[in-house]
Symmetry: C2
Subunit: 211 residues, 2 copies
DNA sequence: GCCTGTGAAGCTATTCACAGCT
DNA sequence: AGCTGTGAATAGCTTCACAGGC
């Protein structure tokens, strides 16, 4: 299967979400400029992305929504879903679990791990918490392809190593630490403090321009 | 002041963090390839970034760490700090507050807002929660330049409008919704579910390659 | 020899401009 | 007339390659 650029993948995820949450009373078709308006990107950007996705519309009525959704699903999702495990059940971990709970997404968090005895064996948003010691065997046994790291910085690399050992090929890292993994493992960094500092910087710039 | 590219700003934040957390027993100087190793980027990338930042090293001993930190501070931070308000005290909001609490960062969260009566007037990680109704006046009175949106999607745009009305020039948005703001306001999107779906997609690809 | 600083090249991402269809 | 699909142009970002200095 053709490789889709990273940025395009991000937008396809957004398009899918927007299309799926459109009211059912909406038209069965949508024009690139309409979808662009919802996603706050340019119309040509939408057309490019859908082109990358190998999807075509018709000049007369635009893109057929159901087909488009199927098409995006086919590209983004694995046919039989993906299993993820969460390492670190702090605020972020809990936020993630509560988002995913119920939502019939193709990604299921099958286990959480923590080294805090007070959390072990609890069930949070339908997900059981296990002793972090048991991560490598358990994650492997459960067939988890994705690991979510939500532990404090100093423990993040160890968590990553354990996840890779368990066979994960994708890691979502909330710890503010650059991870080292062998090739063949995709790491996605979500650095909240960095995002905040970045906003602060540009807010300062905008402020200065305001005069 | 010269505009620094977005990606460079992100890395400067990471460099600063890495340098600041280096043990004190470390050398007073650092070479581009050393910093690059810590940040998991290329050495030439580091040199370019520091060049953008208007900072120079010496070929013989590299970059002087203290000076470099000062230099990055001068670029990234506002001299008298920045004030932020948080809208939505859920898991993400709490995570953010607990990260920032104590940490003597140049960004201070001076107030939080929520519409849940059970949360109003509570103090979380040293930050008081106010009624969301009072946001525009209170945020303006407090001089908040940054707004952090951590409410459910459907309420995000209203929160953004209120923040802009209150005079914010930077918004950090955790809601999975593209925001519309007038020019002169910088929006930074942190989309956790999108990040997870993105990891899932690339994990799938890596898996497929694994054969 | 090993470093920094940087022009030039290469790569990725976005937008422009327009041909072609209905 | 208004849409899609896309080559060509542009902009933004990263790496290459090397001059210059201890």
């Amino acid at each position: 299967m053709k490789r889709i650029p990273s940025k395009t993948v991000e937008r396809l995820i957004v398009y899918r979400r927007l299309l799926a949450s459109r009211g059912d009373e909406q038209s069965r078709h949508i024009y690139s400029h309409e979808l662009a308006g919802l996603a706050r990107v340019s119309a040509v950007q939408v057309r490019r992305d859908l082109m990358e996705a190998g999807f075509s519309g018709s000049p007369s009525r635009g893109y057929e929504v159901e087909e488009l959704l199927d098409s995006i699903d086919r590209i983004l999702d694995a046919p039989d879903g993906m299993k993820a495990v969460l390492v670190g059940v702090g605020n972020i971990g809990r936020a993630l679990l509560s988002f995913l709970a119920g939502r019939g997404l193709k990604i299921e968090v099958v286990a959480a791990f923590d080294s805090d005895a007070a959390k072990i064996d609890r069930v949070i948003s339908g997900c059981r918490v296990y002793d972090a010691q048991t991560l490598p065997e358990r994650a492997r046994a459960m067939g988890a392809q994705i690991g979510v790291i939500a532990v404090p910085g100093p423990q993040a690399q160890a968590a990553a190593d354990a996840l890779v050992e368990a066979g994960a090929t994708g890691i979502l890292n909330f710890a503010p630490v650059p991870l080292v993994v062998r090739t063949g493992v995709h790491v996605e960094q979500v650095d909240i403090m960095r995002a905040l500092e970045k906003v602060a910087h540009f807010a300062k710039q905008e402020k200065a321009r305001e005069v």
